[in-house]
């Protein structure tokens, strides 16, 4: 009798344990998570992830500008907007100070962190708050054919050469407004100005957060003056005061109406050289950012995946983050315009010849610095808004460059003390 009971118990235990053993390969199978990413994303993400891990994904995509208000409203109310969310470099200061995201130091292995250079931008006070998945840094995108038609054989390496080339392209009647530069009060205008400041050989702030752009001989001042001059010389379309960077990319550059994107995104090379998505396929290349000194510089604006502290499915969420940022997936996702953050992935793509303008990108990526050495400040959004509002007003002739720089400094001061 006892034997019977014992064996029944043993069998029962095995019966319970067996499925668990079988699922060892997919420990989290059956769980369900929500993921919030900016649109557009690849069509098969949810399906592929479920196939690999058994975790069901409800993938929500929103336009990038709508994500932040959604995150903020949910997080301030103490709920998770999703189990995995988009986490932009410019939010690190604010979100870290608000302590909304789960530090991932313990769950992301050291090799991954070493492989992803820009992870340091998302490490605040030693906490890794997000794993970067798209490696946006700035490089200059040009239409080679326009340059060739204008008789220019050497790509510009200094700012003066760039302006001269643009004037030549305009003079030959190839494009009416050769330079694409957003001047609307949007993030793209700010980031273009940051790039030009770097190109003029300077930075935005010193290590004590004192503004470095106030005097007429400072890099930031010169960058703003340069933008105004380009507009006045007819090299930049006056309608740019109402255009975002993405609009100039898609509606002007991709249609051959603009020859030079000053603050170019390397991830778009695939799109620009795809005949289905662009009218200038085969004509677009990346060149190193021309600078005043001739020595190229650039900075990074990566985006990461983060897991909010209040998420109820942290394990499954972390699994998604790892999968999405794995070398294998990054190489696959490159076809959708997402530039890998892993150096290993970039190298592999370049060796296989699949990385458009690969050598330039790899070279440029080595010169990429974070925009703020000390980390993104908590008042960054306010600062950026002051910058692009000022650029917009200068472009419309409503204030002088002097006044603009002063406005930016004042707003920064106010932001820092509030």
């Amino acid at each position: 009798m006892r034997a019977l009971i014992l064996s029944t118990v043993a069998l029962a235990t095995l019966a319970v344990a067996a499925p668990a053993l079988a699922d060892d390969a997919k420990p989290l199978a059956g769980k369900s998570i929500t993921v919030l990413l900016p649109s557009p994303q690849a069509p098969n993400i949810a399906a592929d992830f479920e196939k690999d891990t058994g975790i069901h994904v409800d993938l929500q995509t929103l336009s990038w500008d709508d994500i932040r208000p959604k995150l903020v409203t949910a997080l301030i109310a103490g709920t998770a907007p999703a189990d995995v969310t988009e986490f932009d470099w410019s939010w690190t200061g604010q979100f870290a100070a608000a302590d909304w995201y789960l530090p991932l130091n313990d769950v992301i292995d050291k090799d991954t962190v070493a492989d992803i250079g820009v992870a340091k931008i998302f490490t605040v006070n030693g906490n890794l708050l997000g794993v970067p998945y798209t490696n946006d840094f700035r490089v200059m995108l040009v239409n080679k054919k326009h340059f060739a038609d204008a008789g220019i054989t050497k790509m510009p390496t200094t700012l003066d050469e760039l302006v001269a080339d643009a004037k030549q392209i305009k003079a030959k009647g190839i494009t009416q407004y050769p330079i694409g530069l957003p001047l609307s009060p949007t993030e793209g205008a700010s980031t273009s100005w940051y790039l030009l400041t770097k190109a003029e050989g300077g930075d935005l702030f010193d290590k004590d957060w004192k503004p470095l752009f106030l005097t007429p001989d400072s890099a930031g001042y010169k960058a703003m003056a340069l933008e105004l001059q380009l507009l006045k010389d007819g090299l930049v379309d006056p309608a740019s005061t109402g255009l975002k960077d993405s609009q100039i990319n898609d509606n002007y550059f991709a249609k051959g109406l603009v020859s030079i994107m000053i603050s170019g995104e390397p991830g778009r090379l695939g799109q620009f050289n795809d005949p289905k998505q662009s009218q200038v396929a085969g004509q677009v290349a990346a060149i190193l950012v021309p600078t005043a000194s001739g020595q190229t510089r650039s900075y990074g604006l990566p985006e990461a995946l983060g897991v909010p502290r209040v998420s109820q499915n942290q394990d499954a969420a972390i699994a998604f983050v790892k999968w999405f940022t794995s070398k294998h997936f990054q190489i696959e996702n490159y076809a959708n315009g997402v530039l890998p953050t892993r150096t290993s992935a970039l190298d592999e793509l370049n060796k296989a010849g699949k990385l458009a303008s690969g050598d330039v990108l790899v070279a440029q990526s080595k010169t990429v610095e974070p925009l703020f050495e000390q980390g993104t400040p908590t008042w960054y959004p306010q600062f950026s808004s002051a910058v692009n509002t000022a650029i917009n007003a200068v472009a419309k002739g409503q204030i002088t460059v002097d006044q603009a720089m002063k406005n930016i400094a004042d707003a920064t001061q106010k932001a820092m003390t509030q």
């Binding site: 649109s39 557009p40 993938l59 109310a77």
Partner: protein
């Protein structure tokens, strides 16, 4: 009094202006939606599309799945449409019922706090959504009503009640009391008077309130963006997601806009008949 020629001419010119002003932009949007993108920059401008294409609509309704983030477009579209209809209808019926009852009470019945209460409710018209958004969100989370039909319908009701109430009260006020007094003398109770005598006379007011509430709820964007993020997402939130702000393709936007125009247009045309009949029934000679 036979209308003079000058008078009739003025009226006709006025009508034409009003029509062009109201419908012109709508026509232009629909016309652009069926014009190939290449033709957009043709100068001089053509008011009628020279070439006809359904490409924008095809793209919008999901033939090119890759572009739109890989989710089944038609299913999402159908779901959002259903959500919009359900929440707008529910909010309308409840809001109009509440304002009819309340409007009558504020006009004819004397109860403590009548005046203060009315002013307080109508004054909330002035409160912008942002002023209560975050506390309201916390409240809804606590009541587990986020992303539910009930939750968002209640918010719509609270948003449109003030105007609806004020409208109904004005309508009740303009009814002569004599009708009701006569019925009272005959021994009729208040509720009987309300349902059998007063209510039928305020048809136009009820319809106007219903139209205002329905269309207002239909067109809401910010509230459902926050309170109806997924399951109960309405059309107004879905459509901008399609034509992503990163890629302002005017063909796609005008196509999405055209679709968004169809439903309110249908509603206005059909509800309008009731509005006009109601108005004509009590109309001026």
């Amino acid at each position: 009094m036979k209308p003079s020629l000058a008078y009739r001419l003025t009226i006709w010119i006025g009508v034409v202006l009003l029509l062009v002003w109201s419908l012109g932009p709508v026509y232009w949007t629909v016309a652009s939606a069926v014009t190939p993108s290449a033709d957009f920059s043709i100068r001089p401008i053509h008011f009628f599309p020279q070439n006809f294409t359904l490409d924008h609509f095809e793209r919008l309704l999901g033939i090119n799945v890759d572009r739109i983030g890989g989710v089944e477009v038609w299913k999402q579209f159908r779901g959002a449409l259903f959500n919009s209809i359900v929440t707008a209808l529910a909010a309308t019926i409840l809001c109009v019922a509440m304002s009819a009852l309340g409007g009558y009470a504020f006009t004819r019945l004397d109860f403590p706090g009548r005046r203060v209460l009315f002013i307080a409710v109508v004054a909330t018209l002035a409160i912008p959504g942002y002023a209560v958004l975050i506390p309201l969100y916390r409240l809804m989370i606590g009541a587990h009503m986020v992303d539910t039909y009930l939750g968002v319908t209640l918010i719509y009701i609270s948003a449109f009640l003030p105007l609806s109430l004020w409208l109904m009260r004005s309508v009740f006020e303009s009814l002569p009391v004599s009708l009701e007094e006569a019925a009272q003398i005959d021994g009729a109770g208040r509720l009987y008077i309300f349902f059998r005598i007063v209510l039928p006379l305020v048809g136009p007011g009820l319809t106007a309130a219903a139209i205002l509430t329905f269309l207002g709820a239909w067109g809401q964007y910010l509230v459902p963006l926050i309170f109806s993020p997924t399951v109960t997402k309405p059309l107004t939130v879905l459509i901008p997601e399609f034509a992503t702000k990163n890629f302002i393709d005017y063909g796609l936007i005008t196509a999405a806009g055209s679709i968004a125009i169809v439903i309110p247009a249908l509603v206005v045309i059909f509800l309008n008949r009731y509005l006009v009949t109601g108005l004509l029934a009590g109309s001026v000679k």
